[in-house]
């Protein structure tokens, strides 16, 4: 039968906030799911299967919460899958849902991801001591700071590039009604003046802790024909490597490079910088923008920061990045990857509102997780992929 075309036909997001005390975990997921279904013009009866994704269960203290969520997400009597691939899970969840349609198994699949960080203690959950495993007592920032330092040393990037990313993303977030941190007055100077947390990462260069959920409906060709401007899934890729191995390069991981190469190949893209109109990239700490620009092949190694410094990653630049404000402005961890994938879809559907990139026809959604070792990414476009 071969791979079937699949498209994002509905997107739903909650407003991302530090605390959504008005909603339970189920209520949070339902808010996003209802919006995605409404956007797709379908109801729960039209959904064939549900895929749930979130980061570690220890965050909220609910083991396999999809079992409890089955009723709230209309999954009773249907297939229900639960994906967990660390920080990349939001992206992986979208890819698993897409594969159910591409395999010809289902017509419409609902994918829902969430994190309710206000009911969770991520620092604790990430700091349980494990024999024979390197402790991460300082949370994610403590883990990644040495990689950032190494990037700056290797590339010779000027110190303010990270601050530029943070200021851009916070300004972009001010155009996105769903974003958690909406701070249009953020400047390079104000970021540089914020407290140093994990040298060289300053407070304003880190992601917030958010409550939130994101949902998408993926449909087959027939389902896509019923909606305006579906976002066609032109390529997907996932790659993994282990956390610790002497031959790993955690600054520019091989898994990310190979995932990107596979992605561009599948999408028929030879010059990503020219052929991709905008990108939503997983940047939880500002410096990961230039680092991933290189890892994804948008710029040669050591030169990604130049794209950022020249302003080309602003909306209106050659390669706008994180038009929604990115992970730096909203971070419900389990959903953060899917938000990237969903925002890429909104761009090529022309539905990104005030943060729309003019004429976006092809966009990248990207997520990573673990110790920079899990990568998931997709390319969506306004054109149906060639058979």
């Amino acid at each position: 039968m071969g791979k079937q075309p699949a498209a994002v036909i509905g997107v739903g997001q909650t407003h991302y906030k530090a605390k959504r005390e008005d909603l339970s975990i189920a209520g949070l997921c339902r808010e996003a799911a209802d919006r995605a279904l409404a956007d797709a013009g379908v109801g729960f009866d039209d959904i064939d299967a549900v895929v749930v994704g979130k980061a570690p269960d220890l965050f909220e203290g609910v083991m396999m919460p999809e079992l409890y969520l089955a009723e709230a997400l209309g999954a009773v009597g249907k297939p229900l899958l639960r994906v967990h691939t660390a920080g990349s899970v939001g992206g992986s969840t979208a890819i698993v849902a897409a594969s159910l349609v591409q395999a010809g198994v289902h017509r419409r699949v609902l994918a829902v991801t969430f994190e309710k960080q206000s009911e969770s203690n991520a620092m604790w959950a990430l700091s349980v001591p494990v024999p024979f495993v390197m402790p991460v007592h300082a949370g994610a920032g403590g883990y990644f700071a040495p990689h950032v330092r190494s990037y700056i040393r290797r590339s010779g990037a000027p110190e303010h590039v990270g601050a530029m990313v943070a200021a851009k993303d916070r300004r972009n977030a001010a155009r996105n009604p769903y974003a958690h941190l909406r701070q249009p007055d953020t400047t390079v100077e104000s970021v540089m003046a914020s407290q140093m947390l994990w040298d060289p990462i300053r407070y304003d260069e880190t992601c917030p802790s958010s409550d939130g959920a994101c949902a998408i409906v993926i449909g087959d060709e027939q389902a896509a024909a019923l909606v305006d401007s579906p976002a066609w899934i032109q390529a997907t890729a996932m790659r993994t490597e282990p956390t610790t191995a002497a031959e790993r390069d955690q600054v520019n991981p091989q898994a990310g490079r190979e995932a990107a190469a596979a992605l561009w190949r599948q999408a028929g893209i030879t010059d990503p910088l020219r052929e991709i109109d905008c990108a939503e990239i997983y940047v939880p700490f500002s410096w990961f923008e230039p680092m991933w620009i290189e890892n994804l092949g948008f710029a040669p190694e050591g030169e990604g920061w130049k794209l950022t410094e020249s302003g080309q990653t602003e909306i209106g630049g050659t390669l706008p990045i994180n038009m929604s404000g990115g992970v730096l402005s909203s971070n419900p961890i389990g959903a953060s990857g899917m938000i990237r994938f969903a925002e890429a879809a909104l761009q090529v559907r022309g539905r990104a509102g005030e943060h729309q990139v003019d004429g976006a026809r092809r966009a990248l959604g990207h997520a990573y997780g673990g110790g920079s070792q899990f990568f998931s990414m997709w390319v969506v476009g306004s054109e149906k992929p060639a058979a």
Binding site: M63, L80, L81, R248
Partner: protein, 350 residues
């Protein structure tokens, strides 16, 4: 749909594993067995997919350490479900159906002994209304068993007979952690554990790992002389809230079965961690007395969480590949009181 077969299967089961909760020490030799069975290496695998639970390991990201078992670089195409690996097998089957890959290695691991399993599993319940009361899984299963007893659907003797039969067949399975001939009368003389369940009505707390290799078409024939072809695979979930369910039934199993052709099934591997659950499953699947149920001894002889469902598929496939079965059905369950269920039919020669 592409023809996809199980071409390799390996497992370990034990009372208590004296090693890391990620069980890499067991996964490495199990993968080694798969390479021997198939003649393949890591480079032949298009997709890796695992199933496990952070809560069993008592830490976040236990699957992250487990991928060490795959080896270092080059990176692999890989995914993970926070579920029994039978659902990872489903994801891998779907991946092969997209045409992106032709082969997959599916694995799962669980160190149930690391905590108090029945209490750990109560964290699967509604976190606001039910979990704070800490109803444990054995007690919930006992409620389910009581419901059936009161409805006259089974009696204690039938439950004991299920245990005796599984333990007897399990005697032929080197991986079983409990097995052997037992008298129904002796079983009934045992004290109650969670009334009306006796300890032997409940699967033993078991540690273990399992791994399966899947392959499509000629790749399957290349790896195995007798591939066990997956002729159907379906899964469904029920509502969790016990007040919304008829606990004597398993609607999700029935719904999954509706989509499969179970005619001619001669062997069934059922993932029933409690004796009465086997009776529920047999009814929903319409299995007659002529069907060999649990040649492995089933979950009552060993139930490594986050491996046991995949082991059912592997054991059913082994029956096909050995020629002992012409058509088998494998079943996996997850969640309290059979909330979520997966079925997979397997056949030989094509």
């Amino acid at each position: 749909m592409r023809d996809v077969a199980v071409v390799g299967f390996a497992q370990r089961q034990m009372d208590a594993f004296d090693g890391s909760p990620t069980m890499v020490e067991l996964l490495v030799p199990v993968f080694g067995e798969l390479w021997e069975q198939t003649g393949w290496t890591k480079a032949d695998i298009g997709f890796f997919c695992s199933g496990s639970s952070d809560y069993l390991a008592g830490r976040s990201f236990s699957f992250v350490s487990a991928i060490d078992a795959i080896g270092t670089l080059p990176p692999v195409n890989e995914s993970h479900v926070e579920m029994d690996p039978a659902w990872a097998l489903y994801e891998a089957w779907v991946k092969i159906q997209t045409g992106e890959v032709d082969t997959a290695l599916v694995y799962g691991f669980g160190k149930s002994s690391a905590g108090q399993l029945r209490r750990v599993l109560s964290l699967q319940l509604d976190p606001y209304l039910t979990a704070p009361l800490w109803p444990d899984t054995v007690s919930l299963a006992a409620l389910q068993a009581r419901t059936g007893l009161d409805a006259g659907l089974w009696d204690e003797k039938e439950l004991a007979a299920v245990v005796a039969r599984n333990r007897a067949t399990g005697a032929g399975n080197p991986h079983a952690v409990v097995s052997g001939e037992v008298d129904v009368a002796d079983l009934l003389a045992e004290p109650m554990f969670a009334d009306p369940l006796r300890r032997h009505d409940c699967a033993p707390v078991t540690d273990g790992v399992a791994a399966v290799v899947l392959a499509a078409g000629d790749r399957a024939r290349d790896a195995s002389e007798r591939p066990a072809w997956i002729t159907g695979i379906e899964h469904r979930v029920d509502a969790q809230s016990l007040g919304l369910r008829d606990l004597t039934r398993s609607p999700s199993t029935a719904l999954a079965a509706e989509r499969l052709d179970l005619d001619g099934v001669d062997t069934a591997e059922l993932h029933a961690p409690f004796s009465h659950q086997e009776l529920i499953l047999r009814t929903e699947l319409g299995l007659g007395d002529d069907v060999a149920v649990n040649p492995s001894g089933g979950a009552l002889c060993g139930n490594p969480m986050f491996a046991a469902g995949l082991i059912r598929v592997g054991e059913a496939a082994a029956q096909i590949s050995s020629g002992r079965s012409a058509k088998a059905v494998a079943h996996a369950t997850s969640g309290p009181a059979l909330q979520q269920n997966l079925l997979c039919t397997l056949e030989g020669g094509r």
